[in-house]
Structure formats: structure tokens, C-alpha cells
């Protein structure tokens, strides 16, 4: 089971920010968006395709344009290496037929940046790899 805590978010941020494709496809992705994971909410602040900050300390100082909210179970399936059918994509989960994820707010920003957004969300599937590497490094 994935624990979506600060450590996980930091690892995801590192993965996205070290990705070689993001600076190109995310060049104009400067916006904040909200990730709702069960009852917990995080705001991801994007600056030119890089994650500038992720915080769960939400206030009027942490504006966001669109929100992706889903039950924890949806995100747990989404981040699996081989996600099961209907959980491999945010649009799959959000499709009106399935309703496993809700898109709210200014979704125009989402559609404008859908390529980079989809790419960086797929990076969530590499977070486990990074943690394994870090644990091994610690043991050595």
C-alpha cells in the first residue's frame, strides 16, 4: 500500500524535476493544481514544467487552478507499475461512466497542459524505484 506522505511527495517531486522530457513539454505549464487523495489535499505549484513546491498546508497563499480529487484507493491503483483497467489514466478514472476521480476548478488550464500533466502523473509510478535506491544507498 502506498503512503502518500511528505516523503512520497518529495520523491515524486524529485522524479519529475529530474525528468528529461518535462522541461520541453512543460515549458508553459506554470500553475497550481490540487491533488485530493482521500481526505488529504496537496497543492502542487508548477513553474515552467518543474514542481516548485508541494504543500498540504493550504491557505489563501496557496492558490490552485484545477483539482484532481479521488479516493485513496483510486490513487493507489493509479500509481502501480501496471495499473489495473480503469485506473491507468486520470481521464479513465474521471470518465462519467466510472466516476473514480473528480476534476474541478478551471479545467481549461488542465486541458492546456494535459500532455505535461499526464507525463508527470505517470512519473508517480517511478517513486517506488527511487525509494528502493535510497534505502540501498543508506545500507551501504
Amino acid at each position: 500500500m502506498t503512503t502518500f506522505d511528505s516523503r512520497w511527495m518529495n520523491s515524486w517531486m524529485d522524479t519529475v524535476n529530474s525528468d528529461l522530457v518535462m522541461p520541453r513539454i512543460g515549458r508553459y505549464f506554470t500553475a497550481g493544481f490540487l491533488l485530493g487523495i482521500g481526505d488529504e489535499e496537496w497543492v502542487v505549484s508548477m513553474q515552467r514544467g518543474q514542481i516548485e513546491r508541494i504543500t498540504d498546508n493550504l491557505s489563501i497563499e496557496t492558490p490552485w487552478s484545477f483539482a484532481l480529487r479521488a479516493p485513496r484507493e483510486s490513487w493507489e491503483k493509479f500509481v502501480q507499475k501496471i495499473p489495473p483497467p480503469m485506473y491507468n489514466d486520470i481521464w479513465a478514472m474521471a470518465h462519467p461512466l466510472h466516476g473514480r476521480l473528480r476534476m474541478d476548478g478551471d479545467v481549461k488550464v488542465l486541458w492546456q497542459n494535459i500532455r505535461a500533466l499526464t507525463w508527470m502523473l505517470a512519473c508517480m509510478r517511478q517513486v517506488g524505484d527511487r525509494e528502493v535506491v535510497e534505502q540501498r544507498a543508506t545500507r551501504v
Binding site: 483497467p85 491507468n88 481521464w91 470518465h95 462519467p96 486541458w111 500532455r115
Partner: protein, 286 residues
């Protein structure tokens, strides 16, 4: 050095329909029973390149894949700039048959995916005497939810938005190179064409009260991948149960674009169907 060529030939044919003379591009390979392949919404016949190059198929079938008007190399009719494009079941089914007539195809098999699968139901209903068999891939009687304004919006990059919106319809097991090739096709559609096709796919195509009217005289195979979230296996199976004689085949580890996202996996399921249609073998499925 001898250049490497594929055994595929591309040509243009003029198809008269509804007062227009449509200049239609098609590719073909092989000899035998005509097998007309229909592409998905917003893209073109390049999706069928693997099947056009597969000698196991082309040794028994004349495989023909054409670009619908406004798609690929088939230019739009004169005056398109003044119209909002919305594909309808009537135009689509009649145009497929007009294309078959133009090529003088005798009782072809029609195989289509997504909107090309859904139209097979209309062809079964209205043109059964002219068809040998129908292979409806990723099809069901009603597939709502895809007629979305963001797919044609001046503030949104149409190519990236259309292509990325369908990327997740493919299975994670499908090879990256073929998934991104399918994404590429989608990135190249004309403005508003994907959305206009989806008018048929999600709005005009409502076959729920028509399933029982199909006679069953023409073999109908409904093949759906488990990663298709637009037309799920359950939706396909429910439709097949309502249509006399229809057979549903559920494909593991594949999504909404079997022919282009994973031609190897798709072939395992397709070959038994093609063998049955030509009178060899005992049934569909892998």
C-alpha cells in the same frame, strides 16, 4: 542496394455521395475476400498498417483501409470551412457502403474500431445483404461521455489535447513505441474533426433500442480490450447479448486501439475470427 518496400499500395478513388465527389485515399494489400478496415475517430487508416503488412492475413484477404473524408489524405468537401463538422450514423454507414460500391467490392467483410466498430451495428441493421461479416472492435450500443468542447477550443492545443485524451485508452502492456505512434496519429487530426467524429460516437450512435432489430443473418463479432474505459468489456458483452447471433470476444492486456497499440496481441484474437469467416477453424477468440 535494393530499397525495402512494403507490399502496401496507396491510391485515390472518387466516391460520389450526397452531391459531392469525395476524393478518398485508401491503402490495400493482399488477395481474396475483401476486408474493409475503418479507422477510429479523429485519425486515419495508418492505424491498420500492421494488418496490411501481415502475410497471414493478406494471403486470404484483400485488406483495404481508407481515410474517411476530412481524415488523413482524404480532403474535406468543398465548403467545409462554413460548416460545423458532425458525423452522423446515416452519413457514416452510407459512406462506407458508397466506398465499397466505388471499388466494386462483392460482399466485403467490414472491420472497424471504436466509431468504426459502432458503425458496424448500423451496417448490420441496414445493409446486411451487401456484407459477408462484421468485426466490431471496441463497440457497444451506447458510448456516452466523449463529446467534449475542449477537444476543439482555440485556447487549447488540439493535437496535444486530442492525442493525450486517448493515450490512457491503451493498455500499459502495449509497447511504448506503438502507443506513442497511435498518439502521433491523433495529434495530426484536423481542427474539430475528432470532436465531430465523437458526435457520432457519443451522441448520434444510440443503438439501445435497435439491437433486437438486427436479424443475425450476417456474422457479427464484437471484440473489446479490457483496458478500454470508453467501451468496457461489460458494455460490449451486454450489447452482444441483445443481438441475435452476435459473439463477444474479450481481449486481455489490450485497450481501445488493438490494431495499432499492440498488433501482436490483437492478432492472437483476430486470426481465429478471420479463419472462421473464410470457412476454416471453429470459432473466435484466442
Amino acid at each position: 542496394m535494393t530499397a525495402l518496400h512494403e507490399p502496401v499500395t496507396g491510391r485515390y478513388v472518387y466516391v460520389p455521395h450526397g452531391g459531392h465527389e469525395y476524393r478518398i485515399y485508401y491503402e490495400e494489400a493482399g488477395d481474396g475476400i475483401p476486408l474493409v478496415c475503418l479507422h477510429t475517430a479523429g485519425t486515419d487508416a495508418r492505424e491498420w498498417r500492421h494488418q496490411l503488412n501481415d502475410a497471414d492475413i493478406t494471403s486470404h484477404y484483400r485488406v483495404i483501409a481508407f481515410d474517411m473524408p476530412r481524415h488523413g489524405k482524404s480532403i474535406p468537401p468543398v465548403g467545409f470551412e462554413r460548416e460545423e463538422y458532425r458525423l452522423t450514423a446515416t452519413f457514416y454507414s452510407e459512406f462506407v457502403m458508397a466506398f465499397c460500391d466505388a471499388l466494386e467490392l462483392e460482399r466485403p467483410v467490414v472491420m472497424g474500431s471504436s466509431m468504426g466498430g459502432n458503425i458496424c451495428l448500423h451496417i448490420a441493421l441496414n445493409f446486411e445483404e451487401k456484407i459477408r461479416a462484421l468485426i466490431a472492435i471496441e463497440a457497444c450500443d451506447h458510448s456516452p461521455g466523449w463529446y467534449i468542447s475542449w477537444l476543439e477550443h482555440p485556447h487549447v492545443h488540439g493535437g496535444e489535447a486530442c492525442a493525450t485524451s486517448v493515450y490512457g485508452l491503451m493498455a500499459p502492456q502495449s509497447p511504448d513505441e506503438y502507443r506513442w505512434e497511435t498518439w502521433w496519429y491523433y495529434a495530426q487530426g484536423g481542427p474539430g474533426i475528432f470532436k465531430g467524429d465523437l458526435y457520432f460516437y457519443s451522441v448520434d450512435h444510440d443503438f439501445r433500442k435497435l439491437n433486437e432489430k438486427i436479424t443475425g443473418n450476417v456474422p457479427l463479432y464484437l471484440m473489446t480490450g479490457v483496458y478500454d474505459f470508453a467501451c468496457t468489456p461489460e458494455m460490449t458483452e451486454a450489447t452482444a447479448q441483445k443481438i441475435k447471433g452476435a459473439e463477444s470476444i474479450i481481449m486481455e492486456e489490450i485497450g481501445h486501439f488493438p490494431m495499432s497499440e499492440n498488433p501482436v496481441t490483437f492478432k492472437r484474437y483476430l486470426m481465429p475470427v478471420l479463419e472462421t469467416i473464410r470457412g476454416v477453424g471453429s470459432g473466435g477468440g484466442a
